[in-house]
Amino acid sequence: MGQAMVRMRDIRFRWRPRDPLVLDIPVLDVEEGERVFIKGPSGSGKTSLLNLLGGVAVPEAGAISIRGTEITGLRGSRRDAFRADHVGFIFQMFNLVPYLSLIDNVVLPCRFSRSRCSRAVERGGTLDGEARRILGHLELDVDALVSRPVTRLSMGQQQRVAAARALIGAPELVIADEPTSSLDADMRRSFLRLLFREIEEAGATLLFVSHDASLEDAFDHTVALAAINRAGMDG
């Protein structure tokens, strides 16, 4: 195993001061280059966990570090910048900004992160070239779809565009939140295969959050959220 990608220690989190505790996680470690399956039914604190990892929410106690940077010690705007530079997200559905073109959706993170922008240009020559390269690797027929409004792409196509956006500029950590739950079984398998290939090529770490235990086998190891979260079930 390589170095530490994610370190969570004694995390306690609730949405509002008077709300019940949502997360109470003593330890969660993810090593660099790992593909980790985080299993949890809805309501087990997945959303909270993702917001904490993205630095959008902060825990009331405990520390989270990513790549050795303790994001819980950063100011809000620094956390946003850190997320832009180092973390790519894929969500369940409605991943795309409706008024942006396919390519503009893919290169969106480069608007907010200079380092991802320069890395993307380094790899693909231009932003547009890199976007097309990744989309091609994800087996999307870019030329046929590039002028189509993203709202008229199929769900499988939309998810691949979202994956390309999470991967562009080679962020070290990719977090996927149920990215396959809106896809049928065949699509699900091919999407995972392509995602894994790209993650491997980029040398990124993958955190894959899902309630679907059938996908579990493909990952290096599984973390059951219910097992590590002492805060109970609701939230």
Binding site: L50, A57, A81, F89, Y99, L108, P109, F112, S113, D177
Partner: protein, 419 residues
């Protein structure tokens, strides 16, 4: 600048509501600037009505009333002034010239003014411009008439045409001085003042058509023909008012006091500039009301934009969450909305300004012929630019409302829309 192009693309996506919003703001800006334009032009034209006259003298009444009937040909004099008083004052050494004015008759809705040839020599309007003839010349004969530009144009008169003066001011006066018609001897060039809407005849002409009238009706059986009247003494006994030009403006207050304290007859002398100011002051309320209304129209336009931006807020929550996930800060979300509002308002003001000039170009000849108000079309004034700046500033402030809501929402939602 990651946000500007995002805002532009976002607006392009909602171009129908966006352009309606821009249109509403544009129309309101046009109205605001247009009202301001007409107001200043009207005020300037108003101040241009009479110039070079030092005093207006009439029977004692109010300064504004005297100004209204003598210069604007609106309303009636309550009393006449006697020829003797006029001769007395006109003969004073400090007086350079006088123009007697006799009002009370009309021709097809246009006022008939009895005066003498000094009118064409000394009357000044605008920036001391003198009256010019577009055809013919001043009256020579007893029954000659000189028409204002609008009268000639509206009624299609040319030199030599005969016109009949009606007694009193009704448009369709029943009693007409039809036994003594006048002949058009001259037509004046356009002035943009009430002169354009006036029929000028000599004082003697006015006297002549009334020679066989008593108390507003023809004396039965006492017809005097046009030829007979030429042999009569037509020096008027009384008339309405007269304009005074002085040799030195320094004596204006002394003469004004002299006239106001005139012993033989209650007279009133007013300084035209002062009376004009006073009259314009009366219209100040209407002026303020107009400006206020158009300002409120701008507010309505901006409220339309506010509604549009607020209405999209909910459907854009997911979009904001996506932007957050790729690294946008909450302040970026705020900025996105403010920039959209700024673009909409800025486009609105630019189109509003363009619409103003198009409307002015179209309206200029119409307003000129209909209302005698010539609107000059020039570059936007400093005040216009200030107004435009204020509108854009207000637009930015209005945009801050949905922007702040989106900001709060985005803080609460994070990267996922929690419903």
């Amino acid at each position: 600048m990651p946000l500007l192009s995002l805002s532009l693309m976002s607006l392009r996506n909602r171009w129908i509501t966006g352009s309606l919003t821009v249109f509403a703001i544009a129309v309101s800006v046009t109205l605001l600037l247009g009202v301001e334009k007409v107001r200043t032009e009207a005020k300037a034209s108003f101040a241009n009505t009479i110039s070079g006259t030092d005093l207006i003298v009439g029977a004692r009444s109010g300064a504004i009333q005297l100004l209204l009937y003598s210069v604007f040909r609106i309303g009636n004099a309550t009393n006449n002034i006697s020829w003797e008083s006029y001769r007395d004052i006109a003969g004073l050494p400090q007086v350079a010239w006088t123009i007697p004015l006799s009002l009370g008759d009309a021709h097809r809705g246009y006022r008939v003014l009895g005066t003498n040839r000094d009118y064409f020599r000394h009357y000044r309007f605008a920036n001391k411009r003198r009256l010019a003839f577009s055809a013919g010349g001043p009256f020579e004969d007893l029954f000659d008439a000189v028409l204002g530009a609008d009268v000639a144009k509206a009624l299609g008169y040319e030199l030599g045409d005969a016109i009949v003066v009606a007694h009193g001011l009704g448009r369709a006066g029943f009693s007409k001085h039809d036994d003594k018609p006048f002949r058009v001897a001259g037509i004046l060039a356009k002035t943009g003042t009430p002169v354009d809407r006036t029929v000028h005849v000599s004082l003697e002409g006015i006297e002549a058509i009334h020679v066989d009238w008593r108390g507003g009706a023809r004396v039965p059986g006492k017809g005097v023909t046009a030829d007979e009247v030429r042999r009569m003494n037509l020096e008027p006994k009384a008339f309405t008012a007269f304009l005074v030009g002085l040799k030195s403006r320094l004596s204006v207050f002394a003469l004004q006091r002299h006239v106001n304290e005139y012993r033989d007859e209650p007279l009133l002398a007013v300084l035209p500039g002062v009376a004009l100011q006073e009259l314009w002051g009366l219209m100040g309320t209407a002026e303020t009301a107009l400006t206020a209304i158009s300002a409120f129209v701008v507010v309505t336009g901006l409220l339309g934009m506010l509604t549009m931006l607020l209405a999209t807020l909910n459907e854009r929550r997911r979009e904001m969450a996506i932007l957050r996930s790729v690294g946008a800060r909450p302040v970026h979300v705020f900025g996105l909305f403010v920039i959209e509002a700024t673009i909409l308002t800025a486009l609105g003001t630019v189109f509003g300004l363009a619409l103003l000039y198009v409307s002015l170009l179209i309206a200029q000849p119409i307003v000129d012929t209909r209302f005698g108000l010539y609107i000059t079309i020039g570059l936007p004034t400093a005040r216009d630019l200030l107004v435009l700046g204020l509108v854009v500033g207000a637009g930015v402030l209005v945009g801050a409302v949905p922007a702040y809501r989106a900001y709060r929402q985005s803080l609460a939602d994070g990267m996922m829309v929690r419903t």
